[in-house]
C-alpha cells in the first residue's frame, strides 16, 4: 500500500457554499452568523443554514466537521451530496472534468451519476441509507447496480466480502436489515456506501445513538476503510472523540459559518475561537 499522494493538490474544492431557507437576499447573510448569535434573519425571517463555506479536501484526507445542533453540519454534507440544492457557491471535484466544472451547475442526470459512481453517503439513521424491504446483500447490490455493475455472481461475491467485514454472519446476508441491531445496520449501511469504491465518502453522525462498544466497532470499520482503501472522507459529528480518532483536519461551524479551521490536534489542544474553546472545555 502506498501512502496517498497529496502532491497533486485537492480532490474537492468548496467555495462560498450557502444555503438559505426563505427569502435569500443580502440582508439575511449580513444580519446572521456567530456575531449576530443567530442564523435567523431578524428582518426577513430567512434561515441561513450555511453561508460562505469554503475548504479544500485532499486525496486520502479525512476532514471533520464539528458544531452544535443547528450549526449547519448536516446541511453542508447534504448540499455536497445533492440531497438539497444550494442557494449559492461552487463545488469542484477532480474526477469531473479535472475539477474545472462546478458540480452545483451540473444537470440532474450528471449529478445522479456523481452520486452513484463517485460519492458514498452514510446517514445517522440507517433507514435513510438502507432500503429495509431489501436484504442486506440486496442493498449492496442496489448500490452496485446504480454504479453500472450488473453481474449477479460478482455482486453477491462483493456483498459477501463486504458483509464479512461487518461481522454479520454470512447466513444473514439474505435477511432484511430490519432484523439487525443498530450497530449492525450502521455497518451494513457503510458497506453499501463503499461498495463501488467511491473516492469520496460522507459520514453524517454515524455513531450517534450507538452504545460505546458498538460505536468502537463502527469507528474501527471506518478506520480500516480509510487506511486500506485511502478513501477521502468528510466526517460530521458533534462528538469530539470521534473527530479526534478519525480526522486529520477539522472545521468548526457555528450559526452556519466556519469559525475556525485547522489540524485536528491543534483544534482540540489549542482552540483559538471562543466557541471552540467552549466546545473543547465541555469534553468529558
Amino acid at each position: 500500500m502506498t501512502p496517498p499522494d497529496n502532491s497533486n493538490g485537492w480532490l474537492l474544492r468548496v467555495r462560498g457554499l450557502t444555503r438559505i431557507y426563505g427569502e435569500p437576499d443580502e440582508r439575511s447573510v449580513a444580519r446572521t452568523g456567530p456575531r449576530a448569535a443567530t442564523n435567523i434573519c431578524p428582518e426577513t425571517g430567512a434561515i441561513v443554514a450555511c453561508a460562505d463555506i469554503g475548504f479544500d479536501l485532499y486525496p486520502g484526507e479525512v476532514l471533520g466537521v464539528v458544531g452544535e445542533s443547528g450549526s449547519g453540519k448536516s446541511t453542508l454534507v447534504q448540499l455536497l451530496y445533492f440531497d438539497q440544492g444550494a442557494s449559492a457557491g461552487e463545488v469542484y471535484f477532480k474526477p469531473i472534468e479535472e475539477g474545472a466544472k462546478n458540480l452545483l451547475a451540473l444537470t440532474s442526470q450528471r449529478k445522479r451519476y456523481v452520486r452513484n459512481h463517485l460519492f458514498g453517503m452514510v446517514y445517522q439513521n440507517p433507514r435513510d441509507g438502507l432500503n429495509f424491504s431489501f436484504s442486506a446483500g440486496g442493498n449492496i447490490a442496489e448500490k452496485l447496480i446504480m454504479a453500472g455493475q450488473f453481474h449477479v455472481g460478482k455482486m453477491r461475491d462483493r456483498a459477501r466480502g463486504l458483509l464479512s467485514q461487518t461481522e454479520a454472519p454470512a447466513q444473514r446476508m439474505d435477511s432484511t436489515p430490519r432484523t439487525f441491531s443498530g450497530g449492525m445496520q450502521q455497518r451494513v449501511q457503510i458497506s453499501k456506501a463503499i461498495a463501488n469504491h467511491p473516492p469520496l465518502l460522507f459520514l453524517d453522525e454515524v455513531t450517534s445513538g450507538l452504545d460505546v462498544s458498538v460505536q468502537a466497532k463502527v469507528l474501527d470499520m471506518i478506520r480500516h476503510i480509510q487506511t486500506e482503501l485511502g478513501i477521502s472522507m468528510i466526517v460530521v459529528s458533534h462528538d469530539l472523540g470521534v473527530i479526534r480518532m478519525l480526522t486529520d483536519r477539522t472545521i468548526v461551524l457555528k450559526h452556519g459559518r466556519i469559525v475556525e479551521a485547522g489540524l485536528t490536534d491543534q483544534i482540540l489542544q489549542d482552540p483559538q475561537h471562543a466557541y471552540t474553546q467552549l466546545l473543547v472545555s465541555s469534553l468529558l
Binding site: 479544500d56 474501527d220 478506520r223 479551521a261
Partner: protein, 238 residues
C-alpha cells in the same frame, strides 16, 4: 553539519476566551538552532514551557509570534510548521517529523502490535515486515508476550509507554520529538529504550528530548536547553 531547525523569537500566549480573555504567557523570546543528527535535551521545572515548545514545533499549538524553520529533506525547502499550509504540515508529519507524547493516545480495538506497525505501513512497509519489526521492539523492551495482540486501553502506565515509544522509534522518522519517553519505566527497561533511541540516532535521526530523569538526559542529550518561566535560562552545553 547541516542545520535542521532554526527557531527565532518564538512566543506563545494562550488566550482563554471563556475566562473573559485571560492571557496566559507560556513562551517568549525562544531562539535556538539544531544541527542534523543531534539530540537536544529540554530541561526545566514543570510548567517552564518544555512541552509547549515541542507542541509549537509540531503545530499542535499555534505560536503567537516568531518563526520556526524546519529544513525538509522531502521538499528540499525550509518549512515553518506554524505557518505552512495544513496539507504541507500533514505531509511533514507523515514523512519526516514524529511526535511521541507523554501518554499513549489509545485507539479502541487496535492491538498493541498494530499500533506500532501502523506508521511503518503508512511509510511504505509491507504489513508482515512491519509486524515483525514491532515484535522485535516489544521483545527488546520486555513487553510481556501475552500483551502483544491485546488492546492497550487496559495496560499499565509502563506498558502503554513502551507501546508508545516503540511506535515512534519504529517509524524511523528524520526528526523525533520525545516527551518524557522513560518516565514510568524501571531501570533495565529504561536502558533498553535508551539503547534503541541511540541506535536511531546512529541512523541519523535528530531528536528533541524532554525528561526529568538525569540518567536518561545524560545518556542521550548532546546538549541541553534550560527553560525557566517560558524563556531560555542559560545556553548550557553538555
Amino acid at each position: 553539519m547541516a542545520t535542521l531547525l532554526d527557531v527565532r523569537g518564538l512566543e506563545k500566549t494562550f488566550r482563554l476566551h471563556i475566562l473573559h480573555g485571560k492571557m496566559i504567557p507560556a513562551l517568549s523570546g525562544i531562539s535556538f538552532t539544531m544541527e542534523e543528527g543531534e539530540i537536544l535535551g529540554l530541561a526545566g521545572r514543570s510548567g517552564s514551557g518544555k512541552s509547549t515548545l515541542m507542541k509549537c514545533l509540531y503545530r499542535t499549538y499555534l505560536p503567537t509570534a516568531g518563526s520556526i524553520l524546519f529544513h525538509s529533506r522531502q521538499t528540499g525547502t525550509a518549512i515553518d510548521p506554524a505557518q505552512a499550509d495544513e496539507h504541507a504540515v500533514i505531509r511533514l508529519r507523515r514523512f519526516e517529523m514524529t511526535y511521541c507524547a507523554q501518554f499513549l493516545q489509545v485507539i479502541p480495538r487496535v492491538p498493541a502490535l498494530d499500533i506500532v506497525a501502523e506508521p511503518m505501513i503508512r511509510r511504505g512497509a509491507v504489513r508482515e515486515e512491519a509486524l515483525g519489526r514491532a515484535q522485535e521492539a516489544f521483545e527488546r523492551m520486555s513487553l510481556p508476550r501475552e500483551l502483544w495482540d491485546a488492546y492497550p486501553a487496559t495496560f499499565s502506565g509502563g506498558e502503554q509507554q513502551r507501546v508508545n515509544i516503540a511506535r515512534a522509534i519504529m517509524a524511523r522518522p528524520r526528526f523525533l520529538l520525545l516527551d518524557e519517553p522513560t518516565a514510568s519505566l524501571d531501570r533495565n527497561t529504561k536502558d533498553a529504550v535508551i539503547d534503541m533511541i541511540l541506535e536511531l540516532k546512529q541512523e541519523g535521526t535528530s531528536m528533541m528530548l524532554i525528561t526529568h530523569d538525569a540518567h536518561t538526559m545524560s545518556r542521550l542529550a548532546c546538549r541541553t536547553l534550560h527553560l525557566s518561566e517560558g524563556r531560555i535560562a542559560e545556553p548550557a552545553y553538555a
